[in-house]
């Protein structure tokens, strides 16, 4: 690749203003034929906005886009697609109950008079997957495919539309280390066939592994541009955050108790589609210990958490807390015994968004003293308690009567932590506590979790981010297809090895 290669895409002073924020400010980037570039930035830096502008989902407030030197204006994704743009969104744009073929041809179906020629469609998909060596069964339903293959369908979708520029939004977020390697191979093959690729990411490692050049975005502006061959990880990190960052959390040694306070013995769970989602799973957690559950999304994390909290019917097995079986107790009864839970999806499972901070803080203890007396809620104790928690957990808000829907993601998570941690639980289940948060919030939340360990809580941490598991956990259990397949001591292993077990290889 040389400098003289044609510039296929250029943006000139792109700005995008939303009612409350300036998401992109004077963005200038260039992309050459057959080049792979990265857009690096924290959550909320404006990466996705920029990509949506390039893909025709948003119209820029000011600025122009040039394709092959020609000024273009996209009024919808269709325009962008017709001009050879393809995009793989972070949350896949796939219709689950449709087949692979149907998903790929959607919107550009072969056939006449509005009737789909399924035979021709199938053949085209087959040809396409052969040509780019992206094997896939055209007739399987997307919902039956593992995430890696779903991503493949997305890439095929773009290629079917003859994309010359491919945008990948956080493509590795849901993949295992093995799958990531496969994806990189695919990207290289695409590059060799003349496709230009833009990768959006917040992972420094990836930027260096795959791209030729990198643009760093910070608060909606380009904070820098580097060739990946001549910059270090620390350089990139500092550019991205705008201050010096420590890349690894320092963790003090902490002696755990000898005897486990929380145990699961031979747990089996069958979901409502009659699939065994947890398979003979056993584990134990000691007070003062963080046990990390590593695994690829969809291997039983959700079901394990719900079984522990008593929200899913389990088929067999025992859950012991302080030596007593709790598997037949209600969610409420388990909480009352001293189990707390930070769920994965804070907006869906963690908070009632139209409720105020005060109401969310007492959610679940609304019928306990001092918050209620008889039937009536007690305003004063509730207000006092919420004010204290807001202060202790540094929730940034106008008042405790503000609706949590107005808070930022990090502050919403702090409200949940405040509620759960202040109950001083003996067992704490934490699921993906930092999903979608920026570096500052992640640091804070990690430190709070470690604080709970010091207070001798037994902590079970479910996370999809291996980095998070390695920086917090005292022991790592690998979850694969509803089973614990391996236990590791984090000091005696690395992410490659753990990743191998996460995909079922051993």
């Amino acid at each position: 690749m040389t400098e003289s290669d044609a510039i296929v895409l250029e943006t000139r002073n792109i700005s995008k203003r939303f009612p409350r924020v300036l998401a992109n400010n004077n963005i200038n980037i260039t992309l050459r034929k057959g080049e792979i570039i990265s857009l690096l930035g924290e959550n909320g830096a404006g990466k996705s906005t920029l990509m949506n502008v390039l893909y025709g989902l948003y119209r820029p407030t000011t600025g122009t886009i040039l394709l092959n030197g020609e000024e273009v204006e996209f009024s919808s994704p269709r325009d962008a697609i017709n001009r050879g743009m393809g995009m793989v969104h972070q949350h896949f744009m796939l219709v689950d109950p449709l087949t692979v073929t149907e998903n790929i041809i959607l919107g550009m179906e072969p056939g006449r008079r509005g009737v789909i020629d399924y035979k021709a469609a199938r053949k085209e998909v087959k040809d396409l997957s052969d040509r780019y060596r992206l094997e896939i069964d055209p007739d399987s339903l997307v919902e039956d495919l593992p995430v890696g293959l779903q991503q493949r369908v997305e890439i095929l979708k773009a290629l079917y539309r003859k994309a010359r520029i491919l945008i990948l939004d956080e493509p590795t977020a849901v993949l295992t280390p093995g799958e990531v390697e496969d994806l990189f191979k695919v990207i290289h093959r695409l590059r060799d066939s003349g496709v230009s690729v833009i990768i959006i990411t917040h992972k420094l490692e990836e930027v260096r592994a795959i791209s030729d050049r990198v643009y760093i975005l910070r608060r909606g502006e380009i904070a820098g541009e580097r060739r990946t061959s001549d910059c270090t990880k620390t350089d990139l990190a500092n550019l991205m955050v705008g201050r010096d960052v420590v890349l690894t959390v320092s963790k003090d040694k902490h002696e755990a108790a000898d005897k486990a306070s929380f145990e699961i013995k031979n747990l089996n769970v069958i979901n409502d589609r009659h699939v065994r989602v947890i398979n003979d799973l056993s584990l134990s957690v000691r007070p003062g210990e963080i046990v990390g559950i590593a695994g690829v999304d969809g291997n039983g994390q959700t079901e394990l958490a719900e079984a522990i909290m008593g929200q899913m019917v389990q088929e067999s097995g025992e859950i012991l807390f302080k030596g007593n079986p709790v598997q037949n107790l209600s969610t409420r009864a388990r909480r009352d015994l001293g189990i707390s839970y930070v769920p994965t999806d804070r907006q869906k499972a963690g908070l009632v968004l139209p409720f105020t901070i005060a109401e969310n803080v007492i959610l679940g203890s609304q019928d306990e003293a001092p918050f209620s007396k008889g039937l009536a809620l007690q305003r004063k104790p509730i207000a006092e308690y919420s004010r204290k928690l807001v202060k202790d957990y540094d929730v940034r808000c106008a008042s405790i009567d503000e609706e949590v829907s107005n808070l930022s993601g990090g502050n919403q998570q702090k409200v949940i932590l405040a509620r759960e941690f202040s109950r001083e639980p003996d067992f704490l289940l934490v699921s993906q506590p930092t999903r979608g948060l920026d570096v500052g919030a992640i640091e804070y939340i990690h430190s709070q979790i470690l604080k709970m360990r010091e207070k001798n809580s037994a902590i079970l941490l479910i996370s999809l981010e291996l980095e998070e598991i390695f920086s917090l956990a005292d022991r790592i259990l690998v979850l694969f297809e509803g089973k614990i397949v391996k236990e590791f001591d984090p000091s005696e292993t690395n992410d490659k090895e753990v990743g191998l077990y996460m995909t079922g290889g051993n």
Partner: protein
């Protein structure tokens, strides 16, 4: 000073409400005075910034209903003009009839609507659409009629018993649809609707069996009258000058609205209902029994419809008619939606509906404009108030048009 104002506020409010309810229209002036004092008191306690914000919010929340009602009146007038009626005269008659001449009818119309509107609002708060409120209204009416025809006791204790029994029966009528909803996910819109049809069908049989037998009775489509001792007292027994038809049920409705407001916002039951309605998953994750909250809400909803029917039978009609489909259940849906499911808002929404109905009838009698015009106006009001986005939409179109024009000029 503050204490004095508070005292004045309470007195003005209570006196105003009582006289207003007793069909003295000027009562509303006292109520408005009380509200005014209340606001002044609140604002004097706030700092400037908060006060401005609060005023803005208040203005905005008054803006949509005001614009909606005004626009609906204009559109309704347009329809009348297009179909060959005189909208000015019609509206004159409508407002004179609804607000002044037949104000007591407006009140009587609003009374059962307050109960059914509350019923639907409570169910909505739990995330359910009690579209079959009409059925529960019928069940309540039937039980109340049956009990009131047959027995009576002195001292009004029996009336209390009728209210409770009819309410409970109507609440029980919601058990199966709600249970099915919780257990199988069967949608309450379909099931309560079907139950409503079943109840209305049964009411025909009921009327025949309780005096409406065409073979025996002169009045084929009416039950026997209830015993006089079971009739609700007219309001004029405590407030002289009240219209003789206005009964205690009016006050009961107002009190009930306040009770429901308290229940929803100040008790743990209401907290749980609202939590489940706003986010069932989060509520369940926090150990709230969502099935119990939903069932509670639907039982309350049924109970409210039941006492709505009871009030109507004991207070106003003193018997039950066949197929006199007053539609209080259906109209309760509109009332709840109009009020944004706010219990206090329900009072005003029900009054608006009551005024439109009473005014519409007066208008039809005096100007020969069909009273069904009122139904259309109601529909437009609802639509305009619910479609807040409509205003953005129009604004957007307008703005875009201007921008294009400007661009054209520049070119």
């Amino acid at each position: 000073m503050d204490k004095l104002l508070t005292g004045l506020k309470v007195i003005a409010g209570v006196v105003g409400v009582v006289f207003w309810a007793a069909s003295q229209f000027w009562g509303i002036l006292l109520v408005l005075l009380a509200l005014g004092i209340h606001m002044v008191q609140n604002f004097s306690r706030m700092d400037r910034e908060d006060a401005v914000k609060k005023l803005k919010d208040l203005g905005m929340s008054a803006f949509y209903p005001a614009v909606g009602i005004l626009a609906a009146i204009v559109l309704g007038g347009l329809i009348m003009a297009l179909t060959g009626y005189d909208p000015i005269n019609a509206y004159k008659a409508m407002f004179y009839g609804g607000l002044v001449k037949n104000w007591h009818i407006s009140l009587l119309n609003a009374t059962p609507l307050i109960f059914t509107g509350l019923s639907i609002a409570v169910a909505f708060k739990a995330g359910l659409f009690n579209i079959g409120a009409e059925g529960q209204y019928y069940v309540g009416s039937m039980i109340a009629t049956w009990l009131a025809i047959r027995f009576s006791l002195p001292l009004g204790l029996y009336i209390l018993a009728i209210f409770i029994l009819a309410g409970l029966a109507a609440a029980a009528y919601n058990i199966i649809p709600t249970w099915l909803k919780i257990r199988t996910g069967a949608h309450e819109v379909v099931t309560t609707m079907m139950f409503a049809h079943i109840a209305t069908k049964y009411s025909t049989i009921f009327v025949r069996n309780n005096g409406g037998d065409p073979a025996v009775s002169k009045h084929a489509y009416v039950t026997d009258a209830i015993q006089e001792a079971n009739e609700l007292l007219p309001l004029k027994t405590i407030i002289p000058g009240a219209n003789y038809r206005v009964h205690m049920g009016v006050l009961l409705a107002l009190v009930t609205a306040i009770v429901i407001w308290y229940l929803l916002y100040k008790t743990k039951i209401g907290f749980e209902i609202r939590a489940v309605g706003a986010n069932k998953t989060a509520a369940r994750t926090q150990g709230i029994n969502s099935g119990r909250a939903i069932m509670t809400a639907m039982l309350i909803a049924g109970f409210l419809c039941g006492i709505s029917g009871t009030t109507q039978v004991l207070g106003l009609e003193h018997k039950m008619y066949e197929n006199l489909n007053a539609g209080y259940g259906w109209n309760g849906i509109s009332v709840a939606l109009l009020a944004g499911n706010d219990p206090i808002g329900v009072i005003f929404a029900a009054l608006l509906w009551g005024i439109l109905d009473a005014g519409g009838q007066y208008m039809a009698r005096t100007t020969q404009t069909p009273s069904a015009v009122v139904e259309i106006i109601k529909g437009i009001i609802l639509f305009l108030i619910l479609a807040k986005y409509l205003y953005f939409w129009f604004g957007h179109k307008l703005f875009k048009g201007r921008k294009k024009a400007a661009a054209g000029e520049a070119a």
